[in-house]
Amino acid sequence: MAKYTLPKPEDMSAVRYEYDGKDWMDVPVDMRPGNWCYAAPLKHQELLKLPHPHKWHPDDEDWGLPENWKEIILAGMKDRLERFRSFGLFMDICVRCGACADKCHFYLGSGDPKNMPVLRAELIRSVYRRYFTKAGRLGRLAGARDLTVDVLKEWFYYFYQCTECRRCSVFCPYGIDTAEITMMGRELLNLVGINIGWIVEPVSNCYMTGNHLGVRPNTFKDNIEFAVDDLAEITGIKVEAPIDKRGAEVMIVVPSADYFAEPHYFTFLGYLALFHEIGLDYTFSPFATEGGNFGLFFEHDEMKRLNAKLYQDAKRLKVKWILGAECGHMWRVLHQYMDTMNGPADFLEVPKSPVTGTVFDNARSTKTVHICEFTADLIRHGALNLDVSRNDDFRVTFHDSCNPARAMGLFDEPRYVMQNVLNHFHEMPENTIREQTFCCAGGSGIGSDENMEARLRGGFPRANAVKSVHDEFDVNTLACICAIDKAVLTVLMEYWIPEVRVAGIHEFVGNALVMKGEKKRTLNLRAEPLPGFAEEGEEAADV
């Protein structure tokens, strides 16, 4: 009988959990600038009444931890192991097969073994084994280690180099959601006052004023009015954009970047044109002015609170259902966590398109429809008059934004919309799109500028795929349906492929949409000349 030796788990993957021959446990974290984000400002920690608010800096030797920090972390871990069965399972069932190891964009872009999802999870799993399993007494033999300040720093360094995009979970044979391990790691850090400004400040602003930037209702109204004026200059039609209209059929929730940042703003103009054209009875809320929910990134109670806010205002405005815009994490919260936090939203009605009569059964519980589903349904029923040629200057590829793609399975609707409003659309390679999409590397609250290097290398797998369609098909536009993507991919392209710009899908819809009573359209929503109108556009600009 032929001798057959079973492969060891570590032989099953092409990767090894080591640094130049050294075991990962023997390699201390090196807190290099460019790889971490600044701490949260004290006033925002205090405003949210976060545990152990204090001033600290990742570069400092002393992080100002509370004296009993270790007890706090271990108690927090015990509490979460008891409350969240998934966390306990994920701590126990990993066999370290390595299937996830080479699927993470941060690992593929950096080569740092602790960026492998399996090893990133081991950072916390090793502590779990030490304090919560019998075998843990064997220490290193059982893959266990003591919780020390250096371990805590390592957690901070690597859990904030994970965008919770969940690409790794797609490949895990056990279905371990590594993003949830990162979420637990960040929650535990928060218990001792370790969190970051780019998350805590938006959450605090959102809690106080309704959106990440702290834009107050009067400024929000001004911004909407600016957008209405800008759209009127392009189309000749001054649309209504109601705010705080009680009894409207639909409440619109957009990510705040849509009404002040570029290229988001052009997508926002697209929504306004679309809603006007189909005669939608809708309203913006002056308080629910943010789709994004950064609570998801560090503390589940904060996530719950911000999610509740949207529904509170839908209740106050007595709308029937909610239409959610091109936002990313908003959809993960809605589809995966809302029902057990604040749902179901029984006081609203099951969404039904007032134009086509389509009932969105998939949104029966949350009562919130994604705008791509809504628009795809309009197009499917021939409800829109579209001049596709207006988008002929855009040669487009589509980045599946992680959360709409992997957390809610929204793959085909955005593509259907694009195929109906664009003549030039090219897919990126198969293993970089749909459920295997590569993250922008700035999601989950780490799209900050102090960690730009980490973002640019983490975004390399995505940029590499965009470059392939840029080289092959002369693609010049990267479309996506997430506000963070629109900001982060713009920077990513500027570094890797400056010839490619970023756009939202409803920007293309707004360009192609032939509106009743519109003036002769010579400009797109960016106020650039439409194809064939370059000279007229220039003349118009001269006037």
Binding site: D102, L108, G109, P113, Y265, D449, M452, F460, N464, P498
Partner: protein, 188 residues
């Protein structure tokens, strides 16, 4: 047989040796993956290095100019410029080609053959390394510009509405041509 001809004949072994040395500048845990040279989208660093080393070798053999060398080095250096390498480490893999060639010509070198040919070739490698350094510096400058443009892009619309402007900041997507290896690296 001439040195040039032998370089062509031994291309596969030399390029593979060079590529492996380049891959070994990353943590050892990643070597197997990088060297596997599978799908460039599943293995983007390995794929990039494999393509760069192969194309650069051919370019050096045909005496390509600095512009072409810069173009071929672009993606791998652009990557290494944001991978926490020291500047010297980021470009050092180019020099590794010298070792790969010397290993492939061990027998001839021992006999004292090709010494002037070898010196000429190594001079070309040095030139490619200098181009790599220009590209590296361009990438680091670009990184700083990208950071400042991002901050400005986020608030540009609000600032314009207040009747103010950034005189020197093009909006995102309309940035000035990159002042780096992509367009300038090879032309001092």
């Amino acid at each position: 047989m001439s040195f040039e001809r032998l370089l062509v004949e031994r291309r596969r072994a030399i390029v593979e040796d060079w590529f492996h040395k380049a891959a070994e500048t990353y943590p050892s845990g990643m070597w197997n993956l990088l060297k596997k040279g599978s799908n460039r989208f599943a293995n983007p660093i390995g794929g990039t290095l494999a393509e760069a080393t192969e194309a650069l070798y051919d370019a050096l053999l045909r005496g390509a100019d600095r512009d072409e060398l810069a173009m071929l080095l672009d993606t791998s250096i652009r990557l290494r410029a944001v991978q926490s390498f020291a500047p010297s480490e980021a470009v050092a893999f180019v020099f590794e080609l010298k070792g790969a060639v010397r290993r492939a010509f061990k027998a001839e070198i021992r006999k004292g053959k090709f010494s002037s040919d070898l010196a000429d070739f190594e001079h070309r490698v040095d030139e490619a390394a200098l181009v790599a350094f220009d590209t590296y510096m361009g990438c680091r400058e670009r990184l700083m510009k990208v950071r400042s443009n991002e901050a400005r892009g986020l608030t540009r619309r609000l600032i314009e509405r207040a009747g103010l402007s950034f005189p020197d900041s093009p909006p995102p997507g309309e940035a000035a041509p990159p002042q780096d290896g992509r367009t300038r690296g090879a032309t001092p």
